[in-house]
Amino acid sequence: MFKIARLVVEGLRGFAGPQSFEFRRPVTVLFGENGTGKSSTLNAIEWCFFGKECVGAGTGIRERVGWEVANRFRSPADVSAEVECTDPHGSFTVLRSMSAGTARRRDTLELKERDGPTFIGPEAEEKLRQLVPFQFRDFLTTTYQHQEAIRAVLVQEARERNDAIDRLLGLSDYRNILTGIENAKISKAFKDLSGEKDRIARDIDFAVRQRVRDLEDAQQRAEAAGLITDDLSGDAAVRLASQVADRITAFLEDSGLVTPEFEAPADLGQLAEFIRLARRALSRARAEIPAITRQQELLGRRNAVLRFQQTLNNLDVDRQRTTRTVRDYERAHRSQHQLEASIENIQTQESDLQMRLRELNAKAPLVKERISLLESLQDGDEKCPLCGSSVPNLLAQLQTEWEDEIGNQASGIEVEMTAKSLERQQLVRTMREWSESQKKIAELEEEFSNFRRAVAETLKLDIADGENLNDLLTRQLSSVQNSLDSVEQTVTAKMRSIGELDQLVDQVDILREFLNLSRRIERLDSIRESEEYQLLETAFQELAEFVADLDAIKRAVADASRSEADGKVTAASRLIDEYFRRTANHPGLDRVALEVDSDRRTGRNSYTFADQRGEDLFPVLSQGDMNCLALSIFLGLSAAAAKSSPFGFLLLDDPSQSLGSEEKKFLATLIKNVSDKTDIIVATMDAEFRDLLLKEIPAPDVTTYDFIDWTPDKGPVVVEAA
């Protein structure tokens, strides 16, 4: 257990230039107004020991989030804290420094043993962990009475409180070991593995049931395929396959096909390959047996003849129709020459009519002119200029008669011309169609000639000139049909044989499937006796033992922790009870008991505080009472656990908070009593409490530092009081 003899701090939080403190007496009081650097003094000690561990969210202290180590008002912002520790077995000095002004912050640690070597950097950190084998959180709850630590003990949830009290009792190692074991999550992994093992067992059962159903189906198919129960064996399958092989070979030879390399299977393992080859051979037989290929050939010839007959029929119909049309024209017009002459004759008649019409049209104006002349000569007399007789309306009559005659003649000529034109057009159309028909007859002759050649080539026939194609095709069709009839019997017999062989191959295949399923069921049935399954059981058992051992160790660690906690709580219980009753002086409380038990779920230590009736204490306590209780627990447990802590000092930060005068008086007495066992450094802004401490503790046992006149650039003025 070591104590702090001296601290030199520079640039840390409220401090500017270097400031020294001596802690040579049992109690040191740091007194000053709020914000003058008292807490920074305590922070310097913890930072020197724990460095970055005491900064940030990882500390579990809310106010340490965003906490600045360096004094932000000072430049350069270098920080250092040097703590000299004394120990009966040897002293050492720890110097931690931080260059905060550079772009990349650099932390260094130096540890010097008195009359021994100096360690720097990682070696110094390693040496410090050996000398101070505590984590920061343990330091916080066992050594540094800090308001956050008090809250952890009193008002946090039960798990946090139990954790904090474990640390107060120096039982963190147990708790950390349990945490390490739990974080490995071996129990969960084993639970998952057990599920996996159960799944495998279920899968085996399911697979067996499924295969049995498949086997029943296969047996039904075998029976439907004509197999009997005696056939459902490996020997029977091989025998049947051999028979099938012989029959297929004989059939192929008999059909004139080359026998493939095709052997009967020697055992069950060759059945699948045998079935594949047998099916391929039968498929080949279907395509290659001569009778079948002959039948295919004849069917093709028959289809060709039928197609030719149809084409010939179409050609004949066309030829007859066109020839008939030409004959009709000949009957009507005798010859195309005659038709041309008729057309020319009509054209001549049309020309004559046009001439007559032109003459008539030329004559009409002359008659009109003469009538007009007569009108001018008459003088209103109605006498004829030729005969001299008197005729009423003579001129009007002459005019009407002329107009009627010319008009009638012109109309007659026009009607006649129209008729001639229509007649001519009809004859011209007839001439054109006649020519087209003659052209078509020539084309059909060409087509027929080509068709004749196609028939000869396709059917491989010599066709004599003038031979009737229709008769020829009819004879061919009859001949092909006769050949087909004769080959059909042979083909039917071959196809029937192939079908029978197919069925036999199917039987072999059904047998093979049945036997495979039987073997799989046998194998599944014997899985649990297999070497693999035995290995599974052995390996699983080994893991189960591992998990059981781990559980046993967890229980042993928890029990050892509880046993040790029990002893320490028993030792501290009296002190806590006494400290609390003396500081709080609560009229309703005759006794405060701290009890330890095991958490039912986690097995870890669980702590309860009860009054004299065994009831939960917290609901009846005021804020001041809570603070007294926290201080009592902290001081009582610290006093009781002093022997197991590496620290021979306690740090109390503002411990009189929320306490009345009477309570402060008792707290001062308490601190004096505890200081018999361990050094105490108290930071307070409470003058009344400071006076009570100085009154209670003899002057040689206490040092007081007054913190005054703090400024941002110079920090506090620290004066050791007389």
């Binding site: 084998p133 190692d173 147990y174 950390n176 070991i177 945490t179 390490g180 074991i181 974080n183 490995a184 071996i186 992994a189 593995l193 996996e196 495998i200 899968d203 085996i204 697979a207 194998r523 599944l524 899985i527 297999s530 693999e532 399954y533 290995l535 599974l536 390996a539 699983f540 080994e542 893991l543 033992e545 591992f546 051992d549 781990l550 046993a552 160790i553 229980r555 042993a556 660690v557 029990d559 050892a560 046993s563 040790e564």
Partner: protein, 67 residues
């Protein structure tokens, strides 16, 4: 620290189980703790588990093939 080692062993011994095997495992856990704290315990236990489970995993694969 050695107190914990002995106290836990004492607890284990009192249970009448396979103390030799548990003692070996406890030594393994405690060594890991001394070497690297809780995290090292977790890692060490996971390694031990994986070492044992690896064999089991292979066997499970073989059995599934048999099915």
């Amino acid at each position: 620290m050695n107190d914990i080692l002995d106290l836990v062993l004492e607890q284990l011994t009192g249970r009448g189980a396979d103390v030799t095997r548990q003692r070996e495992l406890w030594d393994e856990i405690f060594s890991a703790f001394e070497g690297g704290g809780p995290d090292e315990i977790s890692q060490q236990l996971k390694r031990t588990w994986d070492g044992k489970y690896g064999r089991l995993s292979d066997v499970i694969g073989e059995i599934e093939e048999l099915m």
